[in-house]
Symmetry: C2
Amino acid sequence: MERVGFIGLGIMGKPMAHHLIKAGYPLTVLSSSKAADELSLAGATLVQHPKELTASSDVIITMLPDSPEVEEIMFGANGVFEGMTEGKLFIDMSTISPGSSTMIFQRLAEKNVEALDAPVSGGQVGAESASLSIMVGGNTAAFSRALPLFQAMGKNIVLIGAAGSGQITKACNQMIVGMTIQAVAEAFALAKEAGVDLEKMREVLLGGFAQSKILDLHGKRMLEGNFKPGFKVRLHKKDLDIATKTAQDLGVVVKGTEQVAEQMAKAVAVGNGELDHSSLFLLLEK
Amino acid sequence: MERVGFIGLGIMGKPMAHHLIKAGYPLTVLSSSKAADELSLAGATLVQHPKELTASSDVIITMLPDSPEVEEIMFGANGVFEGMTEGKLFIDMSTISPGSSTMIFQRLAEKNVEALDAPVSGGQVGAESASLSIMVGGNTAAFSRALPLFQAMGKNIVLIGAAGSGQITKACNQMIVGMTIQAVAEAFALAKEAGVDLEKMREVLLGGFAQSKILDLHGKRMLEGNFKPGFKVRLHKKDLDIATKTAQDLGVVVKGTEQVAEQMAKAVAVGNGELDHSSLFLLLEK
């Protein structure tokens, strides 16, 4: 059984780590983690530094907020990178910039160490029920090695392509989800102001070409005014910043994504950052 | 059996009129219609003017390109309006501005004549297979009276609310469809430029929160480069112009819709107006 080191025990990482313990993996976590005591009780070993964690693990998994945090854990003092030797595998399941993912992949490759970018979708519910979608970028052998670990945490697990392509796919997912939320929010705001019954409208539109998971689930949230997260605006904004930056680097014009990123920034500015991303509706409602 | 007059025998109207004949309705059409001979062979009566058509019909249905055409047929010389008397029913199945629909409803109400706005979605395929979605605005009694006719032409038939609410719902449908196309197009353009396998990406995204009928059907079109209509950019642009104008009148800010309307105008300007609306992808692809 692979020895696993897990860094990042937040809303997502904590249940993911628990699933690995349940699946029988010997797990090491950082003693400085908020959820360290809980994981320790569940059987995890506690260590002081990422380097120490790396030394006592075969596979190192990170689930952190953004690129700077992953780079700090990797390349900072007593970081993962120092402890990385041939045969170990690094898996970053955070949503970070594809450029940062590729850079980490290349730096590790210079040490003959394999790495995968494996961001997830499915949110807290998906993490808790081990039903995350996992979009993976990297080499086939590394993917095959990681697959049993992924299967302990998720369901829809796909190797998309080379290093970075997991993050690209995740960015694309967040673009589509964000713009679809904006689409439904604008339609609902217009219909509401025109006095149209939103529940009837949602029903008829779900039967046609406008159908989407967002119209179904977030349309219902908008109807009910229920904006308890779910997925926070603040985090979706971060993901869209990654997407627009990546598009810029590639010279692809994504004006719709930029428009929604602006809406999300506005939502954060007015104090809605901790609400569910479906709360973009609140910015449009009169 | 109600005697039906049908005005507007285009790509949509012709098959719809055929379905009414098949359902046994005595049908009258204008002799000036392109498809008049074909309908005549199928059993329709030909007349010269909308007024004459109105005189010999109980229910008058219009299926025309836009508000000005409907208003001209209604209020022009020898128009429908002149022939309208109590007991007759006017059904406009065109996609026009909600304001124009409401105005026609009110003018007819002054003559004690009922009217319904009943725009459809489902396109040419839906019209030919009598499986259109029909979004209806107007009074309940008029809706009940029209229901058997709608059932000859469509499947998902919903009375949304008061006069104009069918058109509002259709405008909302077109907003959501347009923005979802733009969302998928931007994601695919980014992924393509980054070297990601679009087919794999589409598959994994369909399993998650980004799922939509557009990602499924139009995503496939983008993959295959198949932009044969389907629904033409030029017509979708017209529908979004209605939506943005309506939003403006109501004081609702719909920046995402405006962005897509601009994309559609650009597509028309570069000569893509007759392509399927999924061809918005062509504007983004490098």
